[in-house]
């Protein structure tokens, strides 16, 4: 199997889905000849032409709304929002239209579309190129929310998202686009939307993470194994909605200690929900307080590097939180 980057896996998924189903099309800012800001759609314009790889005006509301309309009548749009930070002009379309349509039509119409967007910090992008937006969308039933952490999952999950009959928010850790590599089959396969993945087995502490933070968590788990002999179990959430509650609970029942890592603001972030589920459904297994390591509760990731580093969880910070928990 070829070893490829996260971004290449994402491109492959779109390429294969477009070849498989002519109703699949892509729209977004500069997705055409330019191939997208991060080159996610590189080459697809040449291969599939301007009718299927459509440069949009600078207008996020329209990118999403056009996708919804087209999806209603049989198309399979992949809408790209250049950075998660720019998704808010389309917020109403996503949470009030896409999420509602199946429900409000009492099951008559549905919106099979994917909204892809790079998210997250660590690239020095500052206030408007670093945001994590998953909590806003995970909060609204009717949307699925997927965040891959590695190339294999990214390709398989994106293909599932394209085939899914529901609107799927697909957030991609941009810091990992070229940093995270892995083996990816060249043939067609999917990774189902739903199951979490136990990516490392252990007995002492469970760490839950997704996206870039999962990548860092694996590094941290290795650090504490080598340096402290702590055996972490790592659960890659992968699909935030729907959440694989069973896998989440099973791991906790084994270790009795949970750390949830996410780079979004901590307050009311995704980790709060996992913590609530654990305390609600596995209280008797709890050996330590459930801990969250997350982005600080300031409005954004500031521009200056020292502040960005202070804001973001890192492998070292994760390792230190694991040690604390293991020692509890």
């Amino acid at each position: 199997m070829p070893d490829i980057t996260l971004i290449d896996a994402i491109r492959q998924a779109m390429d294969e889905e477009m070849a498989r189903d002519e109703n699949v099309f892509i729209t977004g800012e500069d997705v055409g000849p330019r191939g997208g800001v991060f080159r996610a759609t590189m080459g697809l314009y040449d291969k599939y032409g301007p009718d299927r790889v459509i440069d949009s005006p600078l207008a996020e509301l329209s990118i999403v709304a056009v996708g919804i309309g087209a999806a209603l009548v049989g198309m399979r749009p992949i809408c790209e929002i250049q950075f998660a930070d720019y998704i808010y002009p389309a917020f109403n379309q996503i949470v009030n239209e896409a999420a509602y349509i199946y429900y409000r039509s009492n099951g008559e119409w549905n919106v099979p579309m994917v909204i892809r967007s790079p998210y997250g910090g660590g690239i020095g992008g500052g206030l408007y190129h670093s945001q994590s937006a998953e909590a806003f969308f995970a909060h609204r039933p009717g949307l699925k929310v997927v965040i891959p952490s590695n190339p294999y999952d990214a390709k398989g999950l994106l293909k599932s998202a394209v085939r899914d009959p529901n609107p799927v928010m697909f957030f991609e850790p941009k810091k990992g686009y070229r940093l995270i590599r892995g083996d990816v089959p060249e043939h067609d396969y999917t990774v189902p939307i739903g199951p979490a993945n136990v990516s490392r087995k252990g007995t002492d502490v469970t760490v839950y993470a997704y996206g870039m933070m999962h990548y860092y968590t694996l590094q941290a788990a290795q650090m504490v194994a080598d340096q402290d002999g702590i055996q972490c179990e790592v659960v890659d959430i992968r699909t935030l909605v729907p959440l694989d509650t069973e896998t989440v609970l099973n791991s906790f029942k084994k270790t009795g200690k949970a750390l949830i890592v996410y780079e979004d603001n901590r307050f009311l972030g995704y980790g709060a929900e996992i913590a609530a589920i654990l305390s609600d459904e596995a209280f008797e297994y709890m050996d330590a307080p459930i801990r969250r390591l997350a982005g600080l509760d300031v409005p954004g990731v500031p521009f200056a590097h020292p502040m960005q580093d202070l804001f973001m969880p890192s492998p070292e910070k994760i390792a230190s939180a694991i040690r604390d928990l293991a020692a509890y």
């Binding site: 207008a59 020095g124 509760d297 300031v298 590097h305």
Partner: protein, 329 residues
């Protein structure tokens, strides 16, 4: 009619344009060296638009712009040292390293900043103008934006309500022919953006100006005249949109491979660059001015050198800085 600028004023415009150019070139170098991070959008090419527009304003007037804001900030008089420090993410920067390159602002100078979200600042401009009108202040707002931002809803809502409420706003579109890699004609139904203003009667409601002008944005004098006139109209009657035809000589941001345009196209604009052109005009107009211009060139270089020195020697922000200013106490 616009106030006629005297020699001293014209030399000051020249100084500003050269300062911006040197500043931007140095930023590019510092970016290559890894001293500036993130996304860096240079104002190389449109200097005449920024300088001419800001020159047309009075102290009490307001400026607001998008993320390509270094030139506007310097023209409006933000301290070059503190702007450079912001580029390097230093504690002494204009926003203490929080905002970086795209969010340069200074309340005292009525420079309400650059904005990272395209078009998001346009309704704010309308709000500033609404307040000025409500408070009975004789103030006008100049809101700069790129051609790309005229395609987002914010633009249309802002123009519409500025016309409905007769707000003192000059909408200044810096049409540099591309929004990132997308040429204007591929993203805007109206290729002459000034036509969009007609739909909202910005400058067209019978107060003597049929439509806002399309101006040569590489000519600082032309921009100055157009914005002066537009500002006067805005103060008296209401909004005007001015389209400035300009060009960015560098990529959209650093590292842009620029596959969407040819080398020849860029070169053809290089020869029409606003600074060389203005220098020639000044040399023509004032005999023996060259030595003064040379001195301005040297001083600009020195100012930028000093700014880099200042920035490099400034402290980094701390944890306390990171968590400060979330709420007003």
């Amino acid at each position: 009619m616009a106030r006629q600028p005297n020699k001293e004023t014209l030399l000051d415009w020249y100084r500003q344009m050269v300062l911006i150019r040197r500043f931007e070139e140095r930023c590019a170098e510092l970016y290559q060296q890894g001293l500036i991070g993130g996304f860096l959008h240079l104002y190389i090419g449109p200097e005449a638009t920024g300088v001419g527009a800001v020159a047309a304003l009075r102290e009490q007037d307001h400026v607001i712009t998008a993320y390509r804001d270094h030139g506007i900030a310097l023209a409006r008089g933000l301290d070059v040292n503190r702007v450079m420090a912001e580029m390097l993410g230093k504690r002494t920067g204009v926003s203490g390293g929080k905002g970086g390159s795209m969010h340069l602002a200074d309340r005292d100078l009525h420079m309400w900043g650059g904005y990272g979200i395209v078009g998001g600042h346009l309704p704010l401009a309308a709000g500033i103008a609404l307040a000025a009108k409500y408070q009975g202040k004789d103030e006008v707002v100049v809101a700069l934006m790129g051609d790309g931002s005229t395609n987002i809803g914010y633009f249309h809502e802002s123009l519409n309500l500025s016309a409905v409420w007769d707000l003192p706003v000059v909408w200044l579109v810096e049409n540099n022919q591309y929004g990132m890699g997308t040429a204007v004609g591929r993203a805007s139904g109206a290729v002459e953006i000034v036509n969009k203003a007609n739909a909202y009667c910005c400058g067209a409601d019978g107060h003597g100006m049929l439509q806002g002008p399309r101006v040569d944005g590489m000519d600082v004098m032309a921009v100055y005249d157009a914005i002066s006139e537009a500002a006067e109209h805005a103060r008296k009657y209401g909004p005007v949109l001015v389209e400035s035809l300009t060009y960015r000589l560098e990529g959209h941001s650093m590292g842009d491979p620029q596959r969407y345009r040819t080398k020849e196209e860029v070169e053809s604009f290089q020869t029409k660059g606003p600074i060389g052109r203005f220098r020639a005009l000044l040399s023509d107009k004032y005999k023996g001015v060259e030595s003064a211009l040379d001195r301005i060139d040297e001083e600009a270089l020195k100012a930028v050198d000093d700014a880099v020195e200042f920035a490099k020697n400034s402290p980094d922000p701390t944890y306390d800085d990171l968590v400060s200013h979330v709420y007003v106490d």
